[in-house]
């Protein structure tokens, strides 16, 4: 029995230690929590009397009551550390009773033992509970019953009422086990507590370490990601730097290229500026040279005009006595014309030109001078028209007048005349007018269109051209008039009246035949008449005079017959017995003033003139025709065209005359 008890005690001890290792901390948690909250006391009780049991039962603290509610039977104690039957001395009766003691964790329980059977089983609720953590264990040696006695007493209370109990055992070995175990339990529980604290700390530490590790892993991940991103960033930065360097290089290259191109452009621009300035300078230089030529030629011209006055005109006029007189006044004016007037005109012009060139600048104008001051040049007309007569008179006087020839020789030897013949001087006014036009045109070429003088020069050229054309027209009219007068003097008229007006113009003259068998005659075509003469012993006999107003012409050799006839009038035709055709017009034609120009545009005349044959017919009336024979077909065509043109012009003038008469009648 004791051996079995001993063996059971060891088993329970090992089992309790193992159980405490695994469940201690949980229980401790619960217990500590309850203990800290309530601070209940352990109540000691004796189970000798039922009354005492009930009384103790009331006095238990609420904590123990709660424990009792939960552990109301021995079977609820699953893992006891140690259990056995011990003797307990009661408090009031002082007698030793058998009780079943059980240690589980840090609580000491003792139960009542079932008496009937010898099974030693605890029954009922615990009779008493001690919290071993708050108890002290004292060995008592003065007890009478046995030397093996120890006292369990709570340490918290100061009152004497705090429960305690005396416990003894049957054997010393068992006593020693219980007495040693109880403090060990306390130590074990303390160690257990420390272990729990350590475990908690360790758990907390592990938790922290886990969290830290997670954080670290997260940091590592972030760092790794950051590294990856940094790699990419480095690559991006590298690429960026490369691109930057490239852009710098390209920018540098572009700047160098731009600089080079700019230099080339500046060189080209400078060349262009140089060329432009050079052109401008050359133009201005040429312009100035032409202006200077205008001045120098005007100077020499005026000098020569004055020279002629000094050497020729004034000495000839100033001869006082009749014996020394070389030329008459009319002869002097016949040779020199209005020379002194020309001298005055050009002296004034020279002053103006000199003033222009004395104040010469780039902006100087010359054209305005010729616009405003050249009206006096119209007075060149008498000199120009008189020049031919002057030349002939000079030749006549030179050959006929010995004194005049000697005078001319003496004048020519004068150093001032540079040994030039007088005709060299007399020609100069003739050449001066076209010279002005020539110089102004050259000056216009050298003047920029933006220049103020360009407009003036254009107008000046027009002005000078008008003057020149006017002078030329006057000269032509005079030449023509002298020609007609010359012809009139040569003609011999018998029984035929031939009258010329101041408007008569010679158009054409040449040899003709009135029939194939007869000899050559001569014909004049004037602007209003057709005169046929016969040359006989160097005399010119007028044979026929045909008025063009009643005349028609026909060319029988052409492909189509073309007849040009004016309005026919009643003409009396007289045929003489000696084969002379005498024609006199009974209608006196009005003298139409010529328009001054003999030129008619022949392109508008569609005359179907044949190229075969050398004759055509003059239709004088419906009954009378005259055939004219010419040397060559070409000459025939020329005569035919001229006569047709003249007839057409007469018709036009007649219509205009009638129209003007009608207008006067209406007014």
């Amino acid at each position: 029995m004791i051996f079995l008890f001993k063996t059971s005690n060891k088993y329970f001890y090992l089992l309790g230690v193992g159980g405490s290792c695994f469940l201690g901390f949980v229980f401790l948690y619960f217990l500590k929590k309850s203990y800290n909250n309530k601070n209940n006391k352990f109540i000691e009780s004796d189970n000798n009397n039922k009354n005492n049991f009930e009384k103790e039962e009331k006095e238990m603290s609420q904590q123990l009551i709660e424990i009792r509610k939960k552990i109301n039977d021995y079977s609820k104690l699953k893992y006891p550390t140690k259990q056995g039957i011990l003797f307990k001395k009661s408090r009031y009766l002082k007698e030793w009773r058998n009780r079943f003691f059980v240690i589980e964790e840090d609580i000491l329980y003792y139960f009542d033992i079932e008496k009937g059977n010898n099974s030693n089983k605890p029954i009922g609720t615990p009779l008493g509970i001690f919290n071993l953590l708050n108890c002290s264990f004292t060995l008592i040696t003065n007890e009478k019953r046995s030397p093996l006695v120890f006292k369990i007493q709570e340490e918290n209370g100061t009152n004497k009422d705090y429960k305690n109990c005396l416990i003894s055992c049957e054997s010393a070995e068992e006593f020693n086990q219980w007495f040693q175990l109880l403090p060990q339990i306390k130590q074990t529980m303390d160690r257990k507590k420390d272990l729990v604290i350590k475990l908690q700390a360790l758990s907390r530490k592990k938790l922290q370490q886990k969290k830290y590790q997670q954080l670290k892993e997260s940091a590592l991940t972030i760092q790794r990601f950051y590294h990856l991103y940094e790699g990419e960033r480095k690559l991006a930065r590298f690429i960026f730097n490369v691109i930057k360097v490239q852009s710098y290089a390209r920018c540098f290259i572009d700047r160098m290229r731009y600089k080079k191109i700019k230099e080339e452009i500046m060189v080209i621009q400078s060349h262009f500026q140089v060329i432009k300035a050079k052109n401008r300078l050359e133009k201005e230089f040429m312009r100035r040279r032409i202006a200077q030529e205008l001045l120098s030629t005007e100077k020499s011209y005026v000098y020569n005009l004055k020279l002629i006055i000094d050497i020729f005109i004034r000495p000839l006029i100033n001869f006082n006595s009749i014996e020394q007189r070389v030329l008459s006044v009319s002869e002097i004016s016949g040779v020199f014309g209005n020379w002194e007037r020309l001298y005055k005109i050009n002296s004034d012009l020279l002053v103006l030109i000199q003033c222009k060139l004395d104040n010469w600048s780039i902006d100087q104008t010359i054209g305005d001078l010729f616009i405003e001051n050249t009206d006096s040049l119209f007075e060149y007309t008498p000199y120009v028209t008189n020049y031919d007569h002057s030349r002939k008179l000079l030749a006549k006087l030179t050959s006929g007048n010995t004194n005049f020839r000697n005078f001319l020789d003496a004048a020519q030897r004068d150093k001032r005349s540079k040994y030039l013949d007088i005709s060299s001087f007399l020609i100069q006014p003739i050449q001066r007018l076209p010279r002005y036009e020539l110089l102004l045109r050259d000056l216009l070429k050298s003047t920029s269109t933006l220049h103020k003088d360009h407009k003036y020069l254009s107008k000046g050229i027009v002005k000078i051209k008008e003057i020149t054309m006017y002078v030329n027209d006057q000269q032509k009219e005079r030449e023509n008039l002298s020609q007609v007068i010359q012809i009139q003097k040569e003609l011999i008229m018998d029984n035929i009246k031939l009258s010329f007006s101041s408007a008569t113009r010679l158009i054409r003259e040449g040899e003709i035949k009135v029939s194939k068998k007869k000899t050559w005659n001569y014909m004049y075509l004037f602007n209003s008449q057709l005169v046929i003469i016969q040359k006989k012993d160097d005399k010119k006999l007028v044979k026929e005079v045909i008025q063009l107003e009643q005349l028609g012409i026909r060319d029988d050799n052409s492909s189509s017959s073309n007849t040009i006839t004016n309005d026919s009038g009643t003409d009396l035709l007289n045929n003489s017995s000696n084969n002379l055709l005498l024609l006199s017009s009974t209608i006196s034609s009005p003298d139409l003033s010529s328009s001054g120009t003999n030129a008619i545009n022949t392109s508008s005349q569609a005359l179907p003139i044949g190229t075969i044959g050398n004759k055509f017919k003059l239709i004088i009336s419906s009954k009378t025709e005259i055939s004219l024979y010419f040397d060559t077909p070409e000459e025939k065509n020329n005569w035919f065209a001229d006569i047709a043109i003249t007839l057409n012009r007469l018709e036009t003038q007649k219509k205009n005359f009638e129209k003007s008469i009608n207008l006067q009648t209406i007014n």
Binding site: S300, D388, R391, Q412, Y419, S423, S424, P434, E437, N472
Partner: protein
């Protein structure tokens, strides 16, 4: 001995070098810079075979504006120089087309000596001139034979060539002018002072 007066009339197309030739002879050098297109009549003394003659230079302009006044310069002319430019075939053609008819119409006499003068003879072998004429599809520069043939065609007294730029042949022109005036009668040059008078004779017809 009394000095005789020679009226010399210079004709020809524009820009053939008439004025330049006269200025070269007067000043002795080619004129640089601006050359006027027309100069007034001047007079120079030219000595030939110990005789001194006054030669009056009558320059004229070929422009249309002077067509009315140019006939006035023809009377009393002793010698006519008719110019064309060797590098200008147009001026060569105008010799027979324009100038000869005008001379025949206005000259004092049909026997007035005419000297046909080819100017700018230095341009005959000039590459630029030849290429320029070729580009314009014109005749090449006038050769000496062509000039000589034309002078015979127009019944000129003689044919000469000169270059004002090189001052080549310019002095010879005016010597020949004096010779023509002194020894040319009825269009026949008969100079007894030269040993080769027979070879240099220019007979019309």
């Amino acid at each position: 001995m009394q000095k005789s007066y020679i009226k010399l009339l210079v004709l020809g197309d524009s820009k053939t070098g008439k004025t330049t030739m006269m200025m070269t002879y007067s000043t002795g050098s080619f004129p640089t810079g601006y050359v006027p297109s027309h100069v007034d009549a001047t007079s120079l003394d030219i000595e030939y075979n110990k005789q001194v003659c006054h030669v009056g230079f009558w320059d004229s302009s070929a422009l249309a504006e002077f067509d009315n006044t140019r006939p006035s310069t023809y009377p009393n002319t002793n010698v006519i120089i008719l110019c064309f430019s060797i590098d200008s075939p147009t001026s060569f053609e105008n010799v027979s087309k324009k100038w000869i008819p005008e001379i025949r119409q206005y000259a004092p006499s049909i026997h007035t000596p005419i000297i046909l003068l080819g100017t700018k003879c230095d341009l005959r072998e000039d590459e630029n001139t030849i290429n320029l004429l070729k580009e314009n599809n014109q005749m090449p520069p006038i050769s000496y034979k062509q000039g000589l043939a034309l002078s015979k065609e127009i019944k000129a007294t003689m044919y000469l060539e000169c270059s004002s730029l090189c001052n080549q042949g310019v002095n010879e022109i005016f010597k020949q002018v004096v010779r023509c005036h002194l020894y040319c009668k009825d269009g026949v040059l008969n100079d007894p002072t030269t040993t080769t008078s027979n070879t240099s004779k220019c007979i019309i017809q």
